[in-house]
């Protein structure tokens, strides 16, 4: 079920009310992230930081491992008297690969946590919803939320200020 709201302030207030009413499977759509919305929806902090941190550790250790193995075990060459394990010289490549893997993990992790790419979703069945990326704000409540009831939820959304309440079919 989809309901439209007037602006960021009303969407924020609506989010608080929807969450207080006990709904959990809902979302608030806006053209840009709204300050304070995470708290209003009582969402936990994103675990993306841990994912990227892990990627950074893997990236830097594999870079160091690559350089160590190729330069000390497999193809040892004495270059200008430097030790075979020249860790100071290995820093740039280590840093670069750590950053590379972290950046990839940041994007891929974000997409995975968001369940994207997901080209089909019930919200896209609404014509009005297309305006979310322009200037409109919506609350969507999933039908498989335990508190969902077509009539009661519709009344509730209208009560807290939602307009153009639509029921959308499964995607």
């Amino acid at each position: 079920m989809l309901a439209e709201f007037a602006g960021p302030g009303s969407l924020l207030e609506a989010a608080r009310q929807v969450r207080t009413a006990g709904y959990t499977k809902f979302d608030c759509h806006s053209p840009f992230p709204i300050h304070g919305m995470d708290a209003a929806m009582r969402l936990k902090r994103s675990p993306l930081g841990w994912i990227v941190g892990l990627a950074a550790v893997i990236g830097t250790s594999s870079a160091l491992g690559l350089q160590w193995w190729t330069s000390t075990i497999d193809y040892p060459l004495v270059i200008s008297g430097k030790p075979l394990f020249s860790f100071q010289a290995y820093v740039p490549v280590t840093f670069a690969l750590g950053v590379l893997l972290s950046a990839v993990a940041a994007l891929v992790g974000m997409l995975a946590l968001n369940g994207l790419p997901r080209l089909h979703h019930s919200v896209f069945h609404s014509d009005r919803f297309a305006k979310f990326s322009d200037d409109s704000f919506f609350v969507s409540i999933e039908a498989d939320d335990p508190l969902f009831d077509t009539e009661k939820t519709r009344e509730f959304l209208q009560h807290i200020g939602g307009e153009n309440v639509e029921v959308l079919r499964e995607s």
């Binding site: 840009f32 992230p33 193809y75 020249s86 010289a89 740039p92 950053v99 590379l100 972290s102 968001n114």
Partner: protein, 462 residues
């Protein structure tokens, strides 16, 4: 909604970040119409010119591969010439985009939202141009993959202690990370394009690349953290990339190169030339596409202040190099600096000094740093000056190093010049395609910094 009018803290000195009383709808309309309306004829003309230069590039590279690097003006002792100069110049230009996207984001400079998409795209295209040069200068381009640590039949590995290899990793990582960051920023805007698309092809293409973005807060929270993380890792990356590029020179023993000032000096120089290029391009774009409400004089003024700051740092670096060379008592180092100013390449040195040290000082004066014609000319001169800085560094130090019997003079050939000019063809082709098909200003981020985007903003809007 709250009835009390809460003052939104305005960090822009009381002036709106984006002028013209923009609403969310007007932001969308202003940016989208650029790509949605019929292509203006001037775009075709510009693309034609860019493609001709691109053809020059391909032709020159083809001949280079066929005939070998002897077609360039390189000699003994000047084994590095225009190729590395162009490489360092293009990579330097790319640095401004990442600085605007990442560092200004971390410093909460909300005015960056009008220019970051544009600048980051410029970075990607500049790095593409830069990467041409290390690829083609090797001579045997068909074994260029030997630069990478790939298992091979010779059981050899590249030398990880060499800055030339560090370059490969640093610049490739820089390109990849910038691309990922740029794409992440694009996702919500591609969703806007998808939702507005009128014909099926556009709907499919933008729909595909928008990955099904729904704008829900559950998605925004992961997205915002991803953006913050990418900004956080791009910041040390941009500072390290040009430092690594500078170590190509600093790790050697050549007088004039072997100095620890190079990494910070190169980074400052890169930011300097990058911002100058952003100023040049934004002045043109805001005029042609009517974006003066989004990219205001204040934006340009701030960029000019950064240009003034980094230009002064570069000027300081020049004087410190000279001082340390004198103070060191090392006759080779001292001779190099005398030669730079008064020797066979004095003409290049003084172009460099006037463009890099004198020109940016104009920006101390508010009247000059808010004047479009002045900043347009200044930004171009600064980029010319920065090219000459790399020229002076590379060529003067090689042409006259330790052994006077080896000294010689280096001149470019037509092929050095044609490849450089041709690289502009690649840059402008990519840039024109970007402007034509993608949102050149980040609508999402501009909307997010409008006063109406604050949920506690009182009063009527829209």
């Amino acid at each position: 909604m709250s009835s009390e009018v809460t003052q939104v803290p305005n960090l822009n000195g009381g002036e709106p970040l984006v002028t013209g009383n923009q609403t969310f709808t007007s932001v969308t309309e202003n940016i989208c119409r650029i790509t949605e309306r019929k292509t203006p004829p001037v775009w075709y003309l510009a693309l034609g010119a860019a493609l001709s230069l691109l053809l020059v590039l391909f032709g020159s590279i083809g001949f280079l591969i066929w005939e070998g690097t002897g077609i360039w003006g390189l000699n003994n002792p000047v084994g590095w010439g225009w190729a590395i100069i162009n490489f360092v110049w293009w990579v330097g230009i790319g640095h401004a985009g990442t600085l605007i996207s990442a560092i200004l984001f971390l410093l909460r400079q909300r005015w960056r939202t009008s220019i970051n998409r544009f600048a980051e795209a410029m970075t990607l295209f500049a790095i593409s141009c830069a990467l041409i040069f290390p690829a083609i200068h090797v001579g045997r381009i068909w074994v260029v993959h030997w630069m990478f640590p790939l298992p091979n039949q010779m059981q050899m590995w590249p030398n990880f202690r060499s800055p030339l290899l560090w370059d490969v990793f640093a610049v490739s990582t820089y390109f990849a990370a910038s691309l990922l960051f740029w794409f992440t920023g694009l996702i919500p805007d591609l969703a806007t394009f998808r939702d507005r698309a009128k014909n099926k092809i556009k709907k499919y293409i933008f729909g595909f690349f928008a990955l099904g973005w729904r704008g829900g807060n559950r998605q925004w929270r992961h997205y915002e953290l991803a953006y913050l993380i990418l900004a956080g890792i791009s910041t040390p990356l941009v500072l390290s990339v040009h430092s690594v590029v500078s170590t190509d020179f600093a790790i050697s023993i050549i007088p004039g190169w072997h100095t620890t000032i190079f990494p910070p000096y190169f980074v400052a120089g890169a930011i300097f030339s990058g911002f100058a290029m952003v100023v040049t391009l934004t002045i043109i774009a805001r005029r042609i596409f009517n974006l003066k409400d989004f990219i205001t004089i204040k934006h340009l003024e701030r960029m000019n202040k950064i240009i003034l700051l980094t230009g002064t740092m570069v000027g300081y670096a020049y004087s410190m190099e000279f001082f340390v060379a004198w103070y060191s008592g090392n006759i080779y180092e001292q001779t190099i600096f005398i030669n730079r100013a008064f020797g066979q390449y004095a003409w290049a040195y003084w172009i460099m000094i006037s463009c890099n040290v004198v020109v940016p000082q104009l920006f101390w004066f508010k009247k000059l740093r808010t004047s479009i014609p002045v900043m347009f000319v200044a930004s171009i001169l600064i980029n010319v000056g920065m090219w000459f800085e790399r020229f002076v560094i590379v060529v003067t130090s090689l042409a006259q190093d330790f052994l006077p019997a080896s000294w010689d003079y280096y001149s470019p050939t037509i092929w050095d010049i044609s490849i450089f000019v041709g690289s502009f063809g690649l840059f402008f082709t990519l840039f024109l395609l970007f402007i034509r098909f993608l949102p050149m200003i980040s609508m999402t981020e501009v909307k997010a910094v409008l006063p109406q985007a604050d949920p506690h903003h009182g009063g009527t809007h829209e």
